[in-house]
């Protein structure tokens, strides 16, 4: 009985598997005889090891010795697929969960769907197919698992695979003339690139940040490298303590960044002008900024602050003590909103870390004076704002003063910038300007409030006068009419 079963199975299996069976594949037998490249490569292909024959992709009858019958249209032979048909052939199995399970695969089955919606899914120059097909990255006939170091999409090879197109200016220009083609050059200089070239497959390569099949333009909000999404993309690795263990660097950057003024602006206000990881560290050429370059990195946005600091007396001292310039006072990932509280000699103020009444007293006095002025400016702004609101609520025309409120706030921001000069005169100039504007606005608003009461009092007095005149007029009319009545009665009497 057992023998009969085995005999039957040896005939039925190739038929049931509908071309998946590699055993007795006549296509391969003939093509190997011809010594062509595809057949020689295919024996190392992962699909070959899964028992998928040539007919699995090309169609036809792999059991027939007759070439014409094996490659007949009736047998489903499609020849060498072209354009999107290539990916569709792959998707026949890779988008079919049942078939993949049947082959013992746990791979996802949405790659084809993702590819079509990705930036590579756009129409090619010919207009009849997508820019990228499966084989563009995965190769053909010698496809191996992504975990196999021989795979073109293995982490150590992926960069070179992407570079085939992305480092070719002539090719890239045809699709997007403004897209840079130096990513690979930059990548080589990055910490990621250097480690990758040394054979560390754990370091980030193209797909780590951009994704594999669902690569989208950096301007696309769904992209993993869209400004708002970048921190979480980086944090996939950098917040994973286990994964980062061997690199000996902190893994709390994302947590700190989320609480920072930059993180709040980026995540909560969805303001893409706020810096993400790549704005300070670089993207393709990502490295931690060195102590010397921090002020330059911050200075790309905070230009005036950096310039003032560079010409301030602190520059020399910081350089001598090898203190990172901006970071010393503002921290790095957890930069909190720079308020007046950072300034001065109070316990929370950063100045007091180096300046005290006994140690570096000159700076202590100046910091104290600066804080005093900023506090005055803040309370003046609040006072003026409250008066303007009051006047406005009373229905008074106060638009000019309201507009000038912005100038006070602007002066406050200016004083915060001027702090970086550590020059008392410059700081005072900005603060006094704000104080005088606040005084003007408060005066105007107070005048409007006074005017409001003046109008009501005026109306009251006017109403009183009009009422008195009205009563007098009424009495006069009565008097006249009584006189007239008496006169008429007199005439009648006479």
């Amino acid at each position: 009985m057992k023998r009969v079963m085995l005999f039957l199975l040896s005939f039925l299996l190739p038929v049931l598997s509908n071309g998946f069976s590699y055993a007795g594949d006549k296509c391969l037998t003939c093509h190997k005889g011809l010594s062509d490249k595809p057949s020689s490569l295919y024996s190392h292909d992962i699909h070959s090891s899964k028992g998928i024959s040539c007919a699995g992709c090309h169609g036809g009858n792999q059991n027939s010795d007759d070439m014409e019958q094996a490659m007949s249209k009736e047998a489903g032979f499609i020849g060498v697929p072209k354009g999107d048909d290539i990916s569709k052939v792959c998707a026949n199995c890779h988008a079919n969960l049942d078939k993949m399970k049947e082959l013992g695969s746990t791979l996802p089955t949405n790659q084809w769907q993702l590819l079509q919606t990705s930036v590579h899914g756009k129409s090619s120059l010919a207009g009849s197919e997508h820019i990228v097909q499966c084989i563009t990255c995965h190769s053909v006939h010698n496809i191996v698992s992504v975990k196999n170091p021989a795979s073109p999409v293995y982490p150590l090879n992926a960069v070179k695979t992407c570079t085939k197109c992305h480092a070719d200016p002539a090719y890239m220009r045809t699709y997007n003339p403004s897209i840079p083609v130096d990513q690979f050059e930059k990548y080589k200089t990055s910490v990621h690139g250097m480690r990758n070239s040394k054979g560390d497959p754990k370091t980030a390569e193209c797909a780590s940040c951009h994704g594999g099949h669902d690569i989208r333009s950096a301007n696309d909000v769904k992209s993993s490298v869209y400004a708002v999404n970048i921190p979480s993309t980086c944090s996939h690795c950098h917040s994973n303590a286990e994964y980062m263990k061997e690199y000996n660097i902190p893994t709390d950057q994302f947590e700190k960044f989320s609480k920072s003024v930059h993180g709040i602006t980026l995540f909560q206000k969805r303001d893409v002008a706020a810096p993400a990881c790549n704005d300070c560290h670089g993207n393709h050429g990502a490295t931690p900024p060195g102590v010397e370059s921090i002020s330059k990195v911050c200075g790309t946005c905070h230009a005036l602050n950096a310039e003032l600091f560079s010409s301030s007396p602190h520059k020399k001292v910081f350089d001598e003590k090898k203190l990172p310039e901006c970071e010393t006072c503002h921290s790095n990932h957890e930069i909190i909103a720079a308020t007046e509280k950072l300034l001065g000699a109070t316990p929370g103020a950063v100045c007091s870390r180096c300046h005290s009444e006994n140690q570096n007293p000159k700076g202590y006095v100046i910091a104290k004076a600066m804080r005093h002025l900023t506090d005055s400016l803040e309370s003046s702004e609040n006072y003026a704002g409250a008066l303007v609101t009051d006047a406005e609520q009373k229905g008074m025309e106060i638009s000019e003063a309201k507009f000038k409120l912005r100038d006070i706030h602007q002066a406050r921001l200016q004083t915060r910038t001027m702090v970086h000069s550590f020059n008392n005169e410059k700081f005072n100039e900005a603060a006094v300007k704000g104080l005088s504007t606040a005084s003007f606005v408060a005066g105007e608003a107070q005048h409007a409030i006074d005017e409001y009461y003046f109008r009501r009092w005026g109306l009251g007095i006017a109403t009183l006068i009009i009422s008195i005149v009205g009563i007098a007029l009424y009495l006069t009319i009565r008097k006249i009419e009584i006189k007239q009545q008496n006169k008429n009665n007199g005439i009648k009497e006479n």
């Binding site: 025309e397 109008r455 109306l459 006017a462 109403t463 009009i466 005149v469 009205g470 007029l473 006249i480």
Partner: protein, 359 residues
């Protein structure tokens, strides 16, 4: 004090014969009856017109016409000029109260049939003044050059533009060009401070002379019973002093409105901006504007909007010519049909104004 006044009065009387005028006015009598209250609305309208002239002249001292200056100059008047806010608010509120009191005056004359012979010309001049008042309102509304005024003028002149044959030339004449722009503002300013006041003053003069010559009309029912002795009061001083009392009340009302509800300026007009939602004309045009909305786009062979405009024009013309077709009232007979027409007009205006205001 009294002797000083007498001396001054004698001095003046010697030169201008004041006594003759007082005697003339003293001989003029005003009928006293249950509807006498309506007599005062003509006087109140006159008082409001005088206020308009005075406040208008004061505003002219600071107002600058032109796209670049109009809004800013009104803003300056409202915020920097001493009592500028008061003058501008009173001018704006008075404009509206003037139309309202003129309307009440018109309807009271209509219901009392005071337009009947021999007062046909008084009615016609009154109606002309009412139309001129609407012109004052329409032209003055644009002068602050704010957003609402700009688009209301655009809509208003667009409506004028659909009148057959004369519509397009009329629209260009009003606007000074194809679009509402600085040329329209200059033109409306000219209409508002020169053309309309000139014509209005002449028509007002005729109206007042006619009123003085013909005296106050008596209601039809009372006229019939006049033989039993109609109650009257002298125009001077009795009626005139009562008029003054009423004017004082109106003056106080204006002051209250100006202080508690100062006329807003809004946003400066931007010809390139899209029209704000729910743009509406002034309340006295609202019933017509709302009616035009309800008329279908096409009525047989005629455009719906054109039909509406022609309908209102025809109704206005009939209304103005009522002394000539209301033969019954001219014969001194009661004409209930006129009352029904008047009542319909009042209800129609109130209903569609409210609908227009709410929607």
């Amino acid at each position: 004090m009294k002797s000083a006044w007498n001396k001054f009065y004698s001095w003046l009387d010697e030169r201008v014969q004041l006594q003759n005028l007082i005697q003339f006015m003293g001989k003029k009598y005003v009928p006293v009856h249950s509807h006498s209250i309506w007599y005062y609305f003509g006087g109140v309208s006159l008082f409001l017109f005088i206020i308009q002239v005075v406040t208008g002249i004061l505003l002219l001292l600071y107002y600058k016409s032109g796209e670049e200056f109009a809004f800013e100059s009104i803003h300056y008047i409202m915020s920097k000029v001493n009592f500028g806010w008061l003058i501008r608010s009173i001018h704006s509120w008075t404009a509206n109260l003037f139309i309202l009191t003129a309307m009440i005056h018109m309807f009271s004359v209509f219901f009392e049939k005071a337009y009947r012979k021999p007062r046909e010309m008084t009615w016609i001049t009154g109606m002309l003044m009412f139309f001129l008042a609407l012109g004052f309102g329409f032209s003055g509304y644009l002068l602050p050059w704010n957003e609402l005024a700009f688009f209301a003028t655009k809509v208003g002149t667009d409506i004028a533009g659909v009148i057959p044959i004369i519509g397009k030339p009329l629209m260009i004449f009003l606007r000074g060009s194809e679009e509402v722009n600085g040329a329209t503002l200059s033109r409306f300013f000219g209409f508002h401070v020169a053309v309309l006041p000139g014509i209005f003053t002449v028509v007002l003069g005729i109206h007042l002379v006619l009123v003085q010559r013909q005296g106050m009309s008596e209601p039809l029912g009372l006229e019939a019973n006049s033989k039993s002795g109609l109650k009257t009061m002298p125009f001077f001083p009795n009626f005139l002093l009562r008029d003054l009392l009423f004017w004082l009340v109106v003056l106080n009302l204006l002051a209250i409105l100006a202080v508690f509800f100062p006329w807003e300026l809004g946003k400066k007009a931007d010809p390139f901006a899209s029209a704000p939602a729910g743009i509406k004309p002034e309340w006295y045009f609202l019933f017509m504007f709302q009616t035009l909305k309800y008329i279908p786009a096409r009525l047989l062979v005629i455009d719906g909007e054109v039909f509406g405009i022609l309908l209102f024009s025809f109704a206005g013309l009939l209304w103005m010519l009522v002394p000539f077709w209301d033969k019954k009232s001219n014969r001194g007979e009661q004409n209930r049909f006129i009352n029904y027409i008047g009542l319909f007009a009042v209800l129609y205006i109130i209903f569609f104004t409210i609908i227009g205001w709410l929607l």
